[in-house]
Amino acid sequence: MIKVDRLTFSYSKNPFIQDMSFSVSEGEIFGFLGPSGAGKSTLQKILLGMLPNYQGSAVVNGTECKKHSSDFYESIGVDFEFSTMYEKLTARENLRFFSSLYHRQTQSIDELLQMVGLQNDAQKRVSEYSKGMKSRLNFVKALLHDPKLLFLDEPTSGLDPTNSRLMKDMILAEKSRGKTILLTTHNMQDATEICDRVAFIVGGQIFAMDSPHNLIMSRGAASVTYTWFDNGEQTASCLLEQISEDQQLQRLIRENRLQSIHSSEPTLNDIFMEITGRTLV
């Protein structure tokens, strides 16, 4: 679906994206994780055919991005981070106008609005919508022409937990319908939850690329932390894979003196910091 080979791009003399290669298979959710200015948005613009002056190759749906025709966008849906709606128009008027810009058969506006629970607000002006409602409307706008490939830019950014959960469920529902999804995010928790694979980008380079589970398991061993009482509360920890060698823990178990015990795996955020030496802020 997407194949990028030795991609290099620059806004000035210094390369902004350097020798990047990756591919995304059909039906996959692929996440780009990186701090601001890492090159995620630039990469998205290249893949959307908006920045044609790159070196290397970037092929989307079998088309080299810099040579695309207007049909290119018939199979691509984009949900930008910010609302891209006419605030003075109603939700229905917005969707009706944007659906008219595609040649292919578009989905029913009523069904889409119902899907995101906005059927009763269809006649409201977008300026009267809350941030969560705007996000949901923006998302279904990207689905109007039932594209095969979805680009989602920070889809859960600024949403409360309920709307964030709703958004993630909608993304997973689109994946189950066979769509390929490429998303950029700062949110490691969301990436771990919904992405099949992620790539860590810093300074225009990919530092690591794998499934969140593999990245977590390959880099960081799970640890066990336990507490007991001995002249006040005491705490100790050991690696899960070396638990049988921890004599103190064995003794505390035998003596039934443990007050608490729990295991913890490193998060994707820990792995990101370990690999790139950066945080996602």
Binding site: G49, F80, S83, S100, Y102
Partner: protein, 236 residues
């Protein structure tokens, strides 16, 4: 083509909902009525008051040059305001990744309003003009005015970051029309100082009946549009 047409029609719908932009749309008609009826009356009064044989009538053709610029400037000002608002609301970015695309957006939002202004000027100029012009002169003034409208729209969009700034830049950009006054009022030896302005060649073409000036006006406009389009592409 369908997407360009729909985008243009959507822009007209958008303008209809904005009172200021809608007023700007009918301004050329009001200006035409004012020029056609008020200027001859003012001329009679001025002759009576000053006792001179003619006060304004030697400059009637300048009024026509000015009127030929009004419709395109107004229409392209409206277009620029819509572009700025859509840029503020990130809507342009979305439209670029639909079937409309970047080129379709430019055509529907800048070129089509200018073509529309050209057609309206071709109709209004013979109706409200103060001098009798040949068909070639009407077509030339309508074309040159429309090209100037595109330049002004591009100046507004590239030099402003929002609608408020856009209105201030519109006033500044409208100074481009003043080039038409130079052949009428400035000594010939200093004329060429304004030669970079397409409106200078518009005035000169009508005053001196010079076809070469018509060509130079179009060439000067093309040069401006070429430079400003590059700046527009960098910003939008």
């Amino acid at each position: 083509m369908k997407t360009i047409r729909l985008s243009f029609l959507h822009m007209l719908k958008f303008v209809r909902q904005d009172k200021m932009l809608f007023a700007a749309m009918i301004a050329p008609l009001l200006a035409g009525i004012a020029i056609h009826f008020a200027v001859p009356v003012a001329e009679k009064e001025l002759i009576r008051m000053t006792g001179m044989p003619a006060v304004l009538s030697p400059y009637y053709s300048l009024f026509d040059v000015f009127f030929a610029s009004i419709t395109p400037v107004m229409f392209c000002f409206i277009a620029a305001m819509v572009v700025l608002e859509e840029h503020d609301d990130h809507i342009d970015r979305y439209l670029f990744v639909t079937g409309l695309g970047r080129n379709g957006y430019f055509i529907s939002h800048i070129v089509l309003p200018a073509i529309f202004a050209f057609l309206i000027t071709v109709v209004l100029l013979p109706v409200f003009g103060l001098t009798s012009m040949s068909v070639a002169e009407i077509l030339f003034l309508s074309l040159a005015g429309s090209l100037q409208g595109i330049i002004i729209a591009l100046l507004i969009v590239t030099l402003s970051s929002n609608k408020l700034e856009g209105m201030a830049v519109t006033k500044l950009s409208s100074l481009m029309m003043l080039g038409a006054f130079v052949p009428y009022f400035v000594p010939v030896s200093l004329n060429l100082c304004a030669s970079f302005l397409p409106s200078f060649w518009m005035g000169k073409a009508i005053l001196d009946k010079e076809p070469v000036s018509m060509l130079l006006s179009v060439l000067a406009s093309m040069g401006w549009i070429f430079i400003m389009k590059k700046k527009y592409d960098r910003k939008i």
